[in-house]
Each structure stands twice: as structure tokens, then as C-alpha cells.
Amino acid sequence: MRKRDRLNDLVCHYDPSLKTSDIVVAFEYDLNTDSADTRVDGVCVLIAMGEAEPEIRMYCGGELKESHPLSDCSDFAISSGVGCVMIEYKLKGEDRMLCRADNSYSKLYAAVVKRINRYKDKKVYSYDYEETLLRFCPKCGRPIRPGMTVCEHCVSKGKYLKRLWDIASPYKWYIFLSTALFFVVTLINMLPPYINRILVDDYITPKNDVLVGFLSVIGAMIGVHLLSRLITVWRNLTQISVGNKVIIRLRSMVFEKIQALSLSNINRRTSGELMNRVTGDTRQLNEFITRDLADMLQEVLILLAVGIYLFVYDWRLALMIIIPMPIVAFSYRTFWRYMRGMWHRQWVYDSKVSSVLHDIFSGIRVVKAFGMEKREVERFDRITKDLRNTQIRNEHFFAIVDPILSFIMGAGEFFLLYYVGNKILGGEMTLGEMSQFSAYVSIIYGPLRWIASFPRRIVRTLTSVVKIFDLIDDKVDVEDRADAKEITINGDISFENVSFGYDETADVLKNINLEIRQGEFIGIVGKSGVGKSTLINLVMRLYDVNEGAIKIDGTDIRDISQNSLRTQIGVVLQETFLFSGSIYDNIAYAKPDATRDEIITASKIAGAHQFIMKLPEAYSTRVGEHGYTMSGGERQRIAIARALLHDPRILILDEATASLDTETEKQIQDALQKLSKDRTTLAIAHRLSTLRNATRLIVLDKGTIAETGTHDELMRKKGIYYGLVMAQRQMSKMSNTPANKTA
């Protein structure tokens, strides 16, 4: 937004007679419009000064290049190239190009075009296109991840951790307990080297004769180890149960939220992303809480306890150990970074192998049909060879470098040994003290390796935390109003000046006005992509309209509770989805308390009963994944039965019978016809014969209603519908030339 303001200032700087308030919209272009890839520094601007005629101006490098009165210009439109985008317009009826920029500008240009057109039509520019452009973080300038609303770099992570703690806080006593157990385990683990010292110094000596003492020290050793293990088990169990409780709580929060979101919220994210939020990111947190956090506590404790002991015992010795630590940590990091690159390459080859396998197996019919088995075997051989070579190289490298590295990193201990050995020889230190000391030294090196990798884990976890809370915080687009009504629908539907677009760049439906009365059978026709499915999505309120209103029985659907609305609308969609379960489960999906009679009746109307009864398990046949594979037509009939079951007041059929043969379709159509006497039906169909029962047809073209009327009226009109009918007759003539009676 700030950038836009700067641009306005820049234009005012070019032409000091301008004020920022004169500027309707200013936008930059960075590619020469004449052709060639030379980058330029250009700004286009639409100016409206008082009563004067608005003007489009083009500046390049600060110089005014062209200027035209807006009345001479029309048809502003965006035109996309490959890797670039242009705004075109008509100047006195001739095609011209206004500006061109790389693809980063595509959204901006779409919004600009919308704003200019709106200004030209209505002389208003209330449409806030700037807000739609918030794709880069205003703070750091980095892109905001698709599907996120905040920048994960700049968001305050402390706030999120606090919220994570809020979720975990019901289990705070468990967490406290497990932390306390950590302390205990760590302290106990400090004991064995100490006992070892006593053992070596006092008992394992040639002159020893106190067997009882010797045995009791060994007993103490066993006891300490046993205690340590037992408490570790207890700690782990507490830790796991806390982690899982928190994660399950978080997971159900995320899942509930996703269910509450509207389709447009959801469509902003891919289903993979959502799956990741529910499973991947929560798993990441689980790992953090149950493992990383625990490890961190433990390692830090060890580091502190052992560190303090060493310093107290002999600070020079301690320094000898501490000083090389950064070097050790650094070399470990470098080594792992290099190894990561290597493993990564191997991983890439590995996934290539599985994707090729997947490819070949899913396409096995094609492979066999074209006799390409041999070539596929060769292809597979080639990539497995690649994988093998990388694997061998990596293993070799690791096999050689790892021991060497370990040796180098352990080299410090040899110096220590020399120093300590000298001390023993000089009588300043006992053998037992030495063993205790070197035990502590090896203990303290453990946390170091771990701490080197800690920043990476913390970053990964924080990313997951931010992503999860971003989803939980997402504003639901389609929400019930506080005073949403429960109504009983009769079936009058009216569209009043409805405009709608899935995103800000283009309206799919423009200014739709339509009155549908109860009991009408409305057929919606038009070419692909004119907005037929969008129209019915709006009736179901899967999205909210951008402008205007849709009313059912005179009530704006935004005032009706979504539950009340949708339970009274029956839908059969183009893509019929069956859940895993029995046929019965699938039909009863929207009305789990339906009686068996109701189920059978609905199936009979939908023409499903007959084929279901041919299956050995009839209504109990399992479908969906790992179940009986249904044909497209069978699925559709199940879907129709599902929609009919709860006796909807409004029935929506989106290509509901497209996969059926004409015979079956006719049967179902006739049954539906009987059913739709006092019900409103909206049906979309490409096969126009499907709509022969329609009381009225609505022809959509380019997002608007182009024609409306009965079949006969529209045929007489010889418009778009006539064209569609004739084209289909032509087709059916081609497909069954001998017996074509209807034409």
C-alpha cells in the first residue's frame, strides 16, 4: 500500500500541477511496449481533475510520452503473455497497448483494469484494489506463503508459543512432573562416574581385603543404574502421554476449523496443504514437545551440571575441554551440511525411482497396449543405476570420512590423557579420579553435538506453530449471522443484481437478475466456463455474492442459517464422490436416521435400486477405496438417491445424469419430473435433451443471462440456444445416421 502512495507522489513530482487526489490510479510498467526485452522505468496514470475530462497518461523515465482523454479509450483488458502481462485498450476504436510488465504485475494489472473500467462506467473508484495485492509482507518484503495471511518471518512467535502453552496448560502438572523427573535422572546419571572412582581408588587395588565394601560399591552401581532406567521409563511415559494429549487437542482444533471454513477459504489452500496442517505440522509439534523439548532440557542440564563439577574440580582441566568445543561444534556442522547435500541428492534419485515406478504401474495398460515394456525396463534400469551410483558414492564418502572425523574430534581427549597421566605420575591425581574425569568429559560432548542442530529444529517447529495458528485464526468467509433464521423453504428463488467472482481479477457472473417460482424446473445451459456451476454454488451459499443478493422466499440467504438452508437443498454434483463405506451409508449420508423404506424409495426413483439388487451384498456392498468399483452412471444414481433422500425443497442437478445412457436418463428424468411438482429444480446439462422437461431455460453467456424462455420460444428466437441445439442435432445425426427421427 505504501508503495502505491509513493507512486502517486512520483507522478506528482513529474507534473507539479497534479495533486495526489487527482489520481484515480497509478501503476508502473517495466518492459518496453514496443517489443524487445529492454527494461524501462514507466508509469501509467489515470487522472481526473475536477470537471475536466479524465485522462490516461503514460510517463517513461519521468517524461510524458502519451496522453489521451479517457472518452477516446475503451475496452481496457488484460492480456497475458508467457512470463509477462500487458494491458490493452481501444483508442478511438483501434487496438493499442497501454503497458507491459513482467508477471509479478499480473494481479495488479487485473485490479487496475477493473478499477479503470469501473471508473469509466460509474465514475467511482471505491473498489480497494490495494488490499487484494497484499502478497508481500509490508515489513520485510518477503512473499507471504500461499494460503497464509501473515508473514511467518515477521509474526511475533512468542505470542504463538504462549498460545501453544495455553493449549498445553491443562496438563501443566504432568509437564511439571516430567520436568522434575528430568532433573532427577540427570542428577542420578552423574553418580556412576563418582562411584566408579571410589571403586577404582579404594577397592580395586592389590592390597584390598575388604570384600564387603567392594561388593556394596558394585551393588550401589547396579542400584543407581537401575534407578536411572526406571525413572527414565516413568519420565518417557509421562512425556508421551502429555505430548499426545496436546497434539490430539490441537489436531481436532485444526480439523474443526477446516470444517467451519467456507469453500473459498479452503480453495485458497490445496488439499495437500490442509492435510499437512492436520497431520504434518501437528506431528512436528508433537515431536517438539515430546522429544526435542525433553532432549533440550536434559542436554542443557547435563551441560550445566557436568560443567560446574569440572570447573570446581580443576578449572584448568575444564578450560582444556571447553576451549576446543566451538571448533568441534563447527566442524560437525560443516560436515553435516555437506552430508546433507549428498543425502539430499540420493533422496532425489530415490523419489525419482518411486515416481517412475508409480508412473509405469498406473499406466501399465498403456505400456502393454503399445508394446513398450522393453523401453520402460530400460528407463527403470537407467534411473536405478543413477541411484545406485549416488548411493555407493555417498556410502564410500561416509565410510571414509566419518571415522577420520571422529578421530580428529576425539583428538582433544588424547591431550587430556597426556595431561592427566602426567598428573597421576606426579601423584597429584588418582587413577579413580582420572576415570571419573574422562567419563564426565565424554558425557559433556554429547550435548554439544545435539546443540549444534538445535536452531534448525526450533525454526522448523516455530514454522509449524505459526502455520497452525494462522489456520486456526483464519476468518471464515461465509458465516452465519448472529440472528440467522431457521426457515421452512417453499422454493421461490430470486437473484437481484448479483455479481460474483472467485477472485478479485474477474467477475464470473455479472449483474444477474432472475426470478424463479416454486415448482419451476429451470434448465441452465451455456458453453463451458460461462458460470453455470457458479450460479448454483451461490444458491447453496458455498460462496457469498460480491454484489447484490440472492433471496429464497423473499429472505436474503445470508440471513438464513446455513444448516437450515442446506438441509432443504438436495444436490447432485458433476463429480460424484462416494465415501468409503457401504452403499447404504452413502445414500444415508445426509440423513443418517433414514428408514430402510425411505432408502429403497429414494434409490428406486434414482434408478439405483435395480443395479444395487444385482450385487451379491446389495445395499451392504462396500464402495469407495478398497471396495466395489462403480461405473460413472452407477455413482450418479447413488448420488441422486442421496440427494432425494431428505426430500429437498430445492433440487440442484449439476450434470447429474451426464454419465447415464439416454434410456436410463429418460427413466430418471420422468421420475424426477413427477417428483418436482411442488419442488424447485435447477438443472445444468450439456446434453440438451436432458432439459426437455424444463419449464424455463436460462442461457448464460459470458457471465450474464443471454436468453430465457421455454424450449420453443428460444428455438423461434434463433439465438445462442438455437445454435447449441442445432450443433447437438448435427452431432447425433453423425453418431446415428440411419435412425434419426427426432430431427
Partner: protein
């Protein structure tokens, strides 16, 4: 054996003529078409078969070009489309035309296809699943962001790469082997 080859050969030939017979590709050549430029855009006057298959001279005030094989044949097999994006015909090779027309066509293609050529990679930083690149290109120093680095690198030949950033911008590396060692090292991990 001999008989078999005798039988199969005519069948193959027959198939070929059949494919050709079903659909007739219209090629735009120096003989049947003239391109010219009005304002920023191309226009075309061409003699092509109409619906009945008879040659007819028509003119299009505005045409669009689209590469059929953008990666390996940038100036061959260019589809010429009318304003409804319906194909008027195909240009087999731009170089069949006179230099003047070649220039027009090339300019139009260059305007539509924008892909700066990467000459040097300064840095590639990966954070939170994005990678941030700073490169030198034929259009100057640029920085851009890739969302899924592996999927954003398109192999367009043995050593030719297209990088597609999160805005849909394209950057071309015509020959990986010609990159300097340091640049190559930065991109190597993703290949």
C-alpha cells in the same frame, strides 16, 4: 514372413493418408499470407480454405502467435490465432519468410514470451520452503523467489533450464555447462 511385410506396408501407407485426409493443417507461407503491423499489433491477410475447402482471401485485423514447441523450437511451428484464439494456420518456420516479415514475427513473439537469460547466480538462500535468488540476467540484476524449488526448475533439454518463479516469471539458463563454477554449484543441488 515375406508375405507379412507385403501386407503390412500398404496398411501403414493407408493409415498415413487417412490421418491427413481427416484433418487438413493449414500452413501459412510466403505464398498465401502477408503479415503487417498496425500500431503495436500484427495483422494478417491470407488465402486459406474456407469451410467448404475452397481457397478464399481473408484478413484479420489482429492476430496472436503461440509457439507449439516453445522449448526446443522457438521459431518453428508457430500457431497463428485470431482474436477468439481460434487457429488460422501454422507457420512451419519463421525463416521461410522475408527478413522484414521475420522481424515482425520475431518482435511479436518476443513481446509475448519474456524470459531473461540468467548469466550468473549470486546467491540462493532457502528458508521456510521458499528459495530466494539473486541473479544477473540479460535484463540486468534480478532477484526472485521460488516456492517449490525442485518443481520450479523445468528441464527443457539436456542442459537447458527454465526457472519459474512464484509469480510465473520465467528465467532461462540456455546451457548449464556455460555457467561459471560458482553459479553452477549453487543450482546443482536442485537439478
Amino acid at each position: 514372413m515375406e508375405e507379412k511385410t507385403q501386407v503390412s506396408l500398404p496398411v501403414g501407407q493407408e493409415d498415413k493418408t487417412r490421418l491427413d485426409a481427416v484433418i487438413n493443417i493449414i500452413y501459412l507461407t510466403t505464398e498465401n499470407s502477408r503479415f503487417s503491423k498496425v500500431n503495436e499489433f500484427l495483422t494478417l491477410k491470407a488465402t486459406v480454405p474456407n469451410e467448404n475447402g475452397e481457397p478464399e482471401e481473408k484478413s484479420w485485423p489482429r492476430i496472436y502467435l503461440h509457439r507449439a514447441f516453445p522449448f526446443d523450437m522457438a521459431d518453428k511451428y508457430i500457431s497463428v490465432l485470431d482474436k477468439d484464439k481460434k487457429e488460422i494456420g501454422l507457420i512451419r518456420d519463421i525463416h521461410e519468410f522475408d527478413p522484414e516479415t521475420q522481424k515482425l514475427l520475431t518482435e511479436e513473439l518476443e513481446r509475448k514470451y519474456y524470459a531473461p537469460v540468467v548469466t550468473k547466480i549470486y546467491s540462493v538462500k532457502e528458508r521456510y520452503g521458499f528459495s530466494y535468488w539473486v541473479v544477473d540476467t540479460s535484463s540486468g540484476r534480478m532477484s526472485f523467489t521460488l516456492q517449490d524449488t525442485y518443481r520450479s526448475l523445468l528441464k527443457a533439454g539436456k542442459d537447458r533450464i527454465f526457472i519459474i518463479d512464484m509469480d510465473g516469471n520465467r528465467y532461462e539458463i540456455p546451457d548449464l555447462n556455460k555457467l561459471d563454477f560458482k553459479s553452477y554449484k549453487k543450482i546443482e543441488l536442485y537439478l
